[in-house]
């Protein structure tokens, strides 16, 4: 048996695999729900991406290929971000609903490992879903994607995911503090990112103060970089302007997310909110 630090590390890695394992079981058990949600996401993404052709049909003078691809990237990244936030928020909300929250939070599993486990699963699940979504929606349009650097796009999305998880940890604490309103507050934070990050339009069209806010949103850099990778075929070597801010935001948001979650957990333990619903 490993001793000391090795034993602790082994214990934590097994714990992390348990978080991942549980989410795999849940996906398997809720597979029809997942499929229905995926079909809904495809439909929702299509309604956004068809806007490009709609504007042209209404007489607008636009580059339909460009706008359609930009909207597609925006919609896919937005769907990915939604999945990351949803899974991290479920760290508390779903467990509270099922009644398992007390058992999970009294297990000898460190909170960072617990949250990283949720984050790791969210990335794997989200990336698979984003690739499928991109592929299915792209089939509906006559897009020229021959020059796209998909590998660079996926690596950039992974780098951006670190920041998304940090922010997700902060929103995950909301249902812990407020069982009734916490999840909705999480949606609010997600909505603010949607507005300021240039998901469907360039950030330059926003009022100045919103443009300033967009510089601290990791989604802004993720979207810029992904559009360059898909439309221009830019590789990672050309993405320094996007990668470095993402690394920096990730380096700040992960520790900050852990601290915020810890404060929220202490608050919940002080006020008796670390318990099941009903």
């Amino acid at each position: 048996m490993p001793q000391g630090a090795a034993a602790v590390l082994r214990h934590e890695l097994i714990g992390l695999s348990g978080v991942f394992e549980r989410n795999v079981y849940l996906v398997r058990r809720y597979i029809w729900w997942d499929l229905a949600f995926f079909v809904w996401t495809i439909a929702n993404t299509l309604t956004i991406v068809f806007i490009g052709e709609g504007v042209e049909a209404a007489g607008g003078q636009i580059d339909v290929q460009l706008i359609t691809t930009q909207l597609l990237v925006g919609a896919v990244v937005w769907a990915y971000l939604g999945v990351i936030f949803e899974i991290l928020t479920e760290t508390v909300a779903w467990e509270r609903w099922e009644g398992t929250i007390e058992y999970t939070f009294m297990a000898p599993l460190s909170r960072p490992v617990h949250l990283f486990g949720m984050g790791l699963f969210a990335i794997v699940y989200g990336i698979i879903r984003a690739i499928l979504l991109f592929g299915v929606v792209a089939l509906f349009f006559d897009l020229d994607l021959a020059q796209a650097d998909y590998l660079a796009a996926i690596v950039l999305l992974l780098v951006a995911s670190i920041s998304f998880i940090g922010i997700g940890m902060m929103t995950a604490v909301l249902p812990l503090i407020s069982p009734e309103k916490g999840t909705q507050l999480g949606f609010m934070a997600q909505g603010i990112l949607l507005v300021i990050s240039g998901v469907y339009y360039p950030v330059s069209v926003l009022p100045e103060w919103m443009q300033w806010a967009s510089t601290v949103s990791p989604a802004t850099y993720a979207l810029d970089g992904l559009r360059d990778a898909i439309l221009e075929g830019d590789g990672l070597t050309k993405m320094g302007d996007e990668i470095w801010p993402l690394v920096l935001i990730g380096a700040v948001s992960i520790p900050l997310g852990l601290v915020v979650f810890r404060i929220g957990e202490q608050y919940a333990k002080r006020h008796g909110k670390l318990k099941r619903s009903g």
Binding site: H11, G18, Y25, R29, M106, G272, K273
Partner: protein, 275 residues
Amino acid sequence: MTHSNNHNSTPAVVVDGLRKEFFRNDGREGLRRRRKRVAALDGVSFEMRRGETLAILGQNGSGKSTLVRLLSTLLLDDGGSAHVFGHDVSKETRAVRRLINRVSVEASFFKKMSAVENLSYAARFYGMPIRETRERIPEILGRVGFPRERMGEPLEDMSRGMQQKVALARALLTAPILLLLDEPTTGLDPRSKLEVQKFIREIREVHDATVLLCTHDLVEAEELADRVGILDRGRLIELAPAAELKSKYEAATLEAAFFAATGKAFEDEPAEEED
């Protein structure tokens, strides 16, 4: 999974002047909601020796669940202290969590998942790898009387009695040396209740576990526990073997002793509110 023998000489549980308060709504003052502090536990003190079974009796709202949740590291106290095998439950949460497990009145699971799935991921949280649980989970489910052919079925399709057996298996799987049982047989049919009680005896005898049992069932308390504590409005007003309590209050039954000690019948009061 084994625990250190260092715990042999240390008392299993030492609770000293433990206090926990919650806010409760107390009407309105204009537009502002007025709140008052209510003590859920008010200076509770007791010790448990290793291997002992202690039953805590009390009406709803007496503080039983608050006590269990404090010992489970799910609450922070507002005064006093609690130690599990020498570890402070507020400051050494990780050490305490390795030693304890719990079964509560609600068999809390991901209900769409099977017994094996629920137990598998839970065991991982306690550092048990797949090769250890692959055989251990079916074995332990078999021991609590869970039918092998139903191990892969979603728990939502099973009775409460069956779910509670899985809850016991989950607790036992991690080999806790302190088992916290919060009304584990409430709402079960008589047969399931007897099976769960039989298993609690086995846990104590075979696994040398210390058991804190919070219950509404006075017969259960008398049969299973070495000592019985009476918790009334957050205060531990009695703690003695059942026979001693009956003798002290010249009561024929534990229920009569409870009535004499608290001045109340053993029936429900409003449930504990926490905020």
